[in-house]
């Protein structure tokens, strides 16, 4: 008779009883309320999570997991980056050859490089989307203002990591993108050799550009500098800010706190895992199908035509077309970053935290418009700014061809297309008047003055005053644009210009459609043409005035709510943003180079 045999304990059960196992894993993994907590508490990688979280806060359609995915992509980039470093030597003689080796001779080298490149692109997208999500769910509002600031720093560093990374392949794209980027440093005020108000001791051999690239030309010194920045220095600082960012998320709490709570293990951890898995899958397919671009070897003397930065910097590259380099390359980015950082401190509206901005339909005339109901100004301005950035990227990507000339999307490029391009400055006094009138549009009509006006001249007086002010400013702006273009002599005639007047010079060019249309009108219809132009000026003035009147109510309310300092900051940033659109239109439609120019100080707007 065989003895009844006890069922043998499975191997795993035995292993789990060993001292070794117990020394590593402190608790068992059966699914009980206790172990769900222990899994978070007892794990160094998970313990940044809370153990329980609001069910609504981890709804996928609330966060889309964008913050976590940004971090995951950072990890992917770290790992692939470390692997790439095994084969890459940062000297100008070897770097490009190593890239070729990685792509064609090293097993899986090309795949890793693709993955590094595409993960970087994806990270930029995800970080931007994360910012948009945080904005639209009001998650930057107290007590999370400071963490928004840290987030902006992380966004800037993400872009800086991309920028330092793309010199490393030592191909043409790399070299010229970095040439342009470094030259922006040379245009910074005071410290740049070509910037405005440069200090007397600044030369090409000690200015900001020299410090950035480690020499006067981009060379081995630059390559090793960017290599260290990209692989060590920036990730090091990035990690610090990342720690602060995570820590603050935990300490300040999620923006959504209400409702039923669920265990983070498994509810949140599984979502994070699935999101990471999905992104990994996308990255794998993407890297298998699409090769990361590698242009010809860097040549300091030859620039590809057209030379385009990677897409996320094309907006900046396009912006550089319209302004003096120090404005587009230094001042505007600084203002954008400071404006983003200031947002939670000036937006004191407590509404809109913890849910996506409420949208509704509103009719403007006969047109139905999808409109934010709850905090319209904040949402509209932020989304307009984001949209503008992507419109600039779109223009840079699809509307710019050889010699950075305008080509419509789909239009065939020609390197030998004959154009008659010219740009002219508006005389400074007119430009100052234009800008003055423009920024004066920001003036509010405070309650006290309104009350006084209605006491003095009846209840309709404040509205009339507002109307007069805005119509007047609008008309001034229209006149300050059109009068100099129609009447000013061309200062460059006869040396650099064949036409004695701005009107003729711009009217004959191919890059100022409005002025050429006006010029043709005058050529063909004579005085009638001038009459039609007059009507156009009046219409432009009226339109600008009307826009001002539309904003009047908002301005007055903002002023009463926020007080002088916050109001000035908000309206100043807002006008600057809209002013960028204005300047772009002046350039594209009227061929205006600068509205205000002091060449002796390199001060051109």
């Amino acid at each position: 008779m065989a003895e009844p045999q006890l069922p043998k304990p499975p191997l795993m059960t035995l292993v789990k009883k060993t001292k070794l196992w117990k020394s590593i894993f402190r608790h068992d993994f059966t699914d009980t309320p206790k172990t769900r907590i222990q899994r978070i508490f007892g794990n160094v990688f998970l313990h940044l999570h809370p153990v329980r979280v609001s069910k609504e806060a981890i709804r996928v359609s609330y966060t889309w997991g964008l913050g976590g995915l940004s971090f995951y992509l950072f990890l992917v980039l770290t790992v692939t980056g470390i692997l790439l470093m095994f084969y890459y030597r940062p000297t100008s003689l070897l770097a490009y050859q190593d890239m070729k080796d990685l792509t064609f001779a090293v097993t899986l080298g090309g795949f890793l490089r693709n993955m590094h490149r595409w993960a970087a692109h994806l990270m930029v997208v995800v970080v931007i989307l994360h910012m948009v999500r945080v904005f639209l769910t009001g998650a930057y509002k107290p007590p999370r203002e400071y963490n928004w600031v840290v987030g902006v720093i992380l966004l800037v560093m993400t872009l800086f990591l991309s920028y330092t990374g793309y010199l490393l392949p030592w191909d043409q794209l790399a070299l010229w993108a970095v040439t342009v980027g470094a030259q922006m440093a040379a245009n910074s005020p005071l410290l740049g050799n070509e910037g405005p108000f440069k200090l007397p001791f600044i030369t090409t051999a000690n200015d900001a550009r020299f410090g950035l690239i480690g020499g006067t030309v981009i060379n081995d010194a630059t390559l090793i500098r960017f290599y260290v920045l990209h692989c060590v220095a920036v990730p090091f600082i990035f990690t610090f800010f990342l720690m602060v960012h995570f820590w603050r998320v935990r300490k300040d709490g999620f923006s959504k706190q209400t409702g039923e709570k669920v265990d983070v293990w498994p509810h949140l951890v599984s979502r994070e895992f699935l999101a990471a898995l999905l992104v990994t899958l996308i990255l794998f397919v993407w890297s298998l199908v699409l090769q990361a671009p590698l242009e010809a070897q860097a040549n300091l003397n030859v620039t590809p035509n057209p030379s385009k930065a990677p897409w996320y910097f094309l907006g900046l590259q396009e912006l550089l077309v319209y302004f003096d380099p120090w404005i587009a390359g230094v001042v505007l980015p600084t203002i954008i970053v400071i404006g983003l950082m200031a947002m939670p401190y000036v937006d004191t509206n407590p509404k809109g935290v913890g849910y996506w901005a409420k949208m509704g339909w509103r009719k403007v005339g006969p047109v139905p418009i999808w409109y934010p109901v709850e905090r319209p100004f904040a949402v509209n301005v932020f989304m307009l700014g984001t949209l503008m950035w992507f419109v600039l990227i779109f223009i840079g990507t699809y509307c710019r061809g050889p010699n950075w000339e305008w080509y419509w999307p789909g239009e065939l490029w020609s390197h030998r297309r004959l154009t008659k391009m010219t740009l002219k400055n508006i005389p400074n006094l007119w430009g100052a008047l234009l800008m003055g009138a423009y920024f004066a549009l920001g003036t509010p009509l405070p309650q006290a003055i309104k009350a006084r006006l209605s006491r003095l001249a009846g209840p309709k007086a404040p509205r009339l005053a507002s109307l007069l002010m805005h119509a007047g400013l609008g008309m001034t702006m229209a006149l300050a644009i059109f009068i100099p273009i129609l009447t000013a002599p061309d200062a460059e005639y006869p040396v650099r210009s064949n036409s004695p007047t701005l009107f003729e010079a711009l009217g004959r060019s191919t890059n100022a459609p409005v002025v050429s249309a006006m010029y043709r009108l005058v050529q063909e219809a004579g005085a009638g043409g001038y009459a039609m132009i007059g009507v156009m000026i009046l219409a432009t003035g009226a339109l600008l005035g009307w826009l001002g009147v539309q904003l009047a109510k908002l301005k007055d309310r903002l002023f009463e709510q926020k007080g002088l300092i916050k109001y000035s900051l908000i309206i100043g940033l807002f006008l600057m943003m809209m002013g960028v659109i204005g300047k772009i239109l002046l350039r594209l439609l009227f061929g205006v180079k600068y509205v205000f120019s002091l060449p002796a100080f390199n001060f051109n707007i």
């Binding site: 030259q183 010194a221 035509n305 380099p325």
Partner: protein, 209 residues
């Protein structure tokens, strides 16, 4: 108290100085009998607590700490500016003037990033670097323009900006005739101001036969 108070002789003389140097000065106004409330004992104690020896030592200690740390970090900024550069030379020989035809020569563009221009009066040399953000423009003979591929600046034959965002004319390099009869060009010496750029070392007169 039996302790003797020592007064340094110099301090006593200094106290007397005003009286000796200006005997005509009016006597100081007599002090009010009772000091005002601000100079009460509590005031002095507070002053001691805020600016006293302990505070002085503490604050100066921290001040030196931050000064040291800041100075050290700033000195590392200087460390990032190299003193010796390993960069290609900036002057080169560009052959004999008689080998050039009238017009813009692209012969040395790929090697030396320069255009050598010959006109009826003589030679000058452009540095092929856009004054906007440093890309290399291309020469378009048909239009008589240098066009930059990065942001679309256009320059005319004289190097003056006629379109696009560039703020300044193209730079011209120093150009002279070397002893061996070749043109010698120095990219370290640059000029772009009208008037100065057409003379001196930036223009080499060479009449066409």
């Amino acid at each position: 108290m039996t302790t003797t108070t020592r007064i340094h002789p110099r301090s006593s003389t200094r106290l007397m100085e005003p009286a000796t140097t200006n005997p005509a000065a009016p006597a100081p106004a007599p002090r009010p009998a009772t000091p005002p409330e601000v100079f009460s004992e509590a005031f002095w104690r507070q002053l001691e607590e805020r600016f006293g020896r302990r505070q002085f030592l503490l604050k100066s200690g921290w001040a030196f700490f931050w000064l040291f740390l800041g100075g050290w970090l700033l000195s590392n900024l200087r460390y990032l500016f190299p003193n010796v550069l390993y960069e290609p030379g900036l002057s080169f020989k560009a052959g004999r003037p008689e080998d050039y035809a009238l017009g813009v020569s692209e012969k040395f563009k790929k090697e030396q990033r320069t255009w050598i221009v010959r006109n009826e009066e003589g030679f000058f040399c452009f540095w092929a670097r856009c004054t906007h953000l440093g890309c290399t423009p291309n020469w378009f003979e048909a239009e008589g323009r240098f066009k930059c591929p990065c942001h679309g600046s256009n320059f005319n034959r004289a190097g003056d900006v006629i379109a696009g965002p560039a703020p300044k004319p193209l730079w011209r390099c120093a150009i002279q005739l070397a002893d061996d009869g070749q043109l010698i060009i120095d990219k370290a010496r640059l000029e772009n101001r009208p008037g100065s750029r057409e003379q001196g070392e930036f223009f080499f007169p060479y009449k066409s036969a």
